[in-house]
């Protein structure tokens, strides 16, 4: 498969393949980021970082079900100071590293972006879309066009790195929020975060399984929703889209790229297909391209549109 070219250029960041480790999955340490790159990720995202350390919710925080996964980790993270130490010498990771930055108000986002500015991150991702952490994302009203505009604009002033705004699949005004982000200077949209929230109850314990009771749904269940979000966004914004949600095979990756994604994120599939899921996906994509005589992956972006 020598002629197959999987490399993409995302907001001037060169990736040797379009698969990106999604935030919150194994992005807790520098060592794990490195391992994911060795296992084929085209880029990696760190677990979201807030100004202060956060313990997150109690266990159970992540649970699987027939259609995917439910999680309410609650943004546990060591805070920006510790994170700046952990994620140093990023040039040795072997692929671009994306910082994920959260806050309860726009000043927090700026503080964290500044606190990480000495490290060689390739982009800043801002999730405004967590469905299960009080004070953050949807539970703090960050998923509205106005809040999105304000936060994006503030971060825009604080950094010259590409900014990715990460959206929720569970808001009707998805496209207006994306447009607000674009207008405020975002360089890409990450679509989507986990959906819901959802709940699973253990009938023998007669209680919700997650300690926070509700959590975000990811994995297979999310895929059709993510594909639709990307498809809609592709018609609404001009900036590139990073498609995330239930991608676990090369066919899924191609599907979300055909819907309009320039790159794709992978999270839950690491459970379903192992830590080498990125290698598997790249091989499957290359095989499909080979069979169809497609040599450049960028050709397929958005082709599902009429």
């Amino acid at each position: 498969m020598s002629k197959i070219n999987l490399s993409v250029n995302l907001c001037n960041i060169p990736l040797n393949n379009p698969g990106i480790l999604a935030s919150g999955i194994l992005g807790t340490t520098r060592a794990l980021l490195k391992r994911m790159v060795e296992n084929g990720a085209g880029a990696v995202t760190i677990k979201s970082i807030s100004k202060e350390p956060r313990e997150g919710h109690k266990n159970p925080t992540v649970i699987t079900f027939e259609g995917g996964m439910l999680n309410a980790v609650g943004y546990s993270n060591p805070g920006v100071e510790a994170a700046a130490k952990e994620f140093s010498q990023l040039n040795e990771i072997g692929a671009p590293v994306i910082a994920s930055v959260i806050g309860t108000q726009k000043e927090d986002f700026v503080r964290v972006v500044e606190g990480l500015s000495a490290q060689k991150f390739s982009a800043i991702e801002i999730p405004l879309s967590c469905p299960h952490t009080p004070g953050f994302g949807l539970l703090a009203g960050q998923g509205t066009p106005q809040a999105t505009f304000d936060i994006t604009a503030a971060v825009r002033k604080a950094t010259s790195l590409p900014i990715f705004i990460k959206l929720s699949p569970s808001i009707p005004e998805l496209c207006s929020v994306a447009k607000a982000a674009e207008d405020a200077g975002a360089d890409a949209i990450t679509a989507v975060n986990s959906m819901g929230p959802g709940m699973l109850i253990n009938i023998d314990a007669q209680r919700p399984i997650l300690s926070f009771k509700v959590g975000g749904v990811t994995g297979d269940a999310l895929r059709p929703i993510a594909i639709r979000c990307v498809y809609d966004l592709y018609q609404s914004v001009k900036i590139p889209i990073i498609g995330v949600g239930g991608i676990s095979t090369g066919r899924h990756a191609i599907e979300i790229m055909m819907a309009g994604a320039s790159a794709f994120g992978v999270g839950s599939a690491i459970y379903y297909r192992g830590i080498d899921v990125f290698k598997k996906i790249s091989d499957e994509m290359a095989f499909w391209m080979q069979e169809r005589g497609i040599t450049n992956i960028n050709e397929i972006v958005g082709v599902a549109h009429d």
Partner: protein, 254 residues
């Protein structure tokens, strides 16, 4: 493997020591390998990993050292009480005859089913004081030591082990206990040219290799471990040094 917790009923409780109780439950058709663990759920409270320390025909058991609120709540439970389990998770021990097991405190729980399966095994158990020693009746030939000499030899397993390694040729050494102890066991085994497998402990969330909480130098203790070989441990810089708190802070290992 069970992905969502099933509630199991406690069918028996054994006091292994003043601070350790074993809770037995019907294991149904779950299969456990020595060294694997289950996530134990107390609804509305929390969920934590525990080694399966007994494997009998239909029954399995976990041995719990009272430490904080969670383990205290477990200790408060009575027969017929229920808790949730999911799993088993993780990579267990690679069983070989002619081996030695070295347990520190509650670390002995991880080694117990291994010892059941290897009748010729030599067992060393260390604890701070006599009341910390468990399974004395279960493993009759077990060599015991305590820091204060209140039971068995005075000293730690690290004091006891070199003599064993000198006097016999073990095919393998299995170890579980405080990480500082494990670190020194691995050092000793390397020095005596014996392969070693050690079971690590890290704070865990998912238990199945997704969340990154249990990282030890790029290895997921929940899935890639908890048992690692000395060769693997030799390239894990955090081993014996650093662990990661619930909030993801990197701290010096107690």
């Amino acid at each position: 493997m069970i992905e969502q917790p099933i509630m199991v009923k406690i069918c028996d409780i054994r006091e292994e020591s003043p601070d350790v109780k074993t809770f037995f439950f019907s294991k149904g058709n779950l299969r456990f390998e020595p060294g694997q663990f289950v996530m134990v759920w107390l609804p509305l409270l929390d969920e934590k990993p525990f080694a399966v320390s007994y494997l009998q025909n239909d029954v399995a058991g976990i041995s719990v050292l009272r430490r904080g609120i969670f383990t205290q709540s477990l200790h408060d439970m009575k027969i017929s009480g229920t808790f949730g389990i999911r799993g088993p998770y993780g990579r267990g021990f690679d069983l070989q005859p002619g081996a030695c097991a070295v347990g520190g405190g509650i670390g002995m729980a991880s080694l117990a089913t291994l010892a059941d399966r290897l009748p010729d095994i030599t067992i060393l158990q260390g604890a701070r004081t006599a009341s910390g020693i468990i399974y004395q009746n279960r493993f009759r030939g077990m060599k015991v030591c305590t820091d204060d000499g209140s039971l068995g030899l005075r000293g730690t397993v690290i004091d006891l082990l070199p003599e064993q390694l000198k006097s016999r040729t073990f095919q393998k050494v299995y170890a579980c206990g405080p990480e500082k102890m494990l670190y020194r066991v691995v050092e000793l085994c390397n020095r005596y040219g014996v392969g070693c497998e050690a079971s690590l402990e890290r704070y865990m969330k998912c238990g199945f290799g997704l969340c990154g909480q249990c990282d030890c130098s790029g290895q997921r203790v929940c899935l890639d471990g908890p048992v690692f070989t000395s060769a693997e441990l030799s390239v894990m810089e955090d081993f014996g040094k650093m662990e990661i708190t619930k909030a993801g802070e990197r701290v010096i290992h107690k």
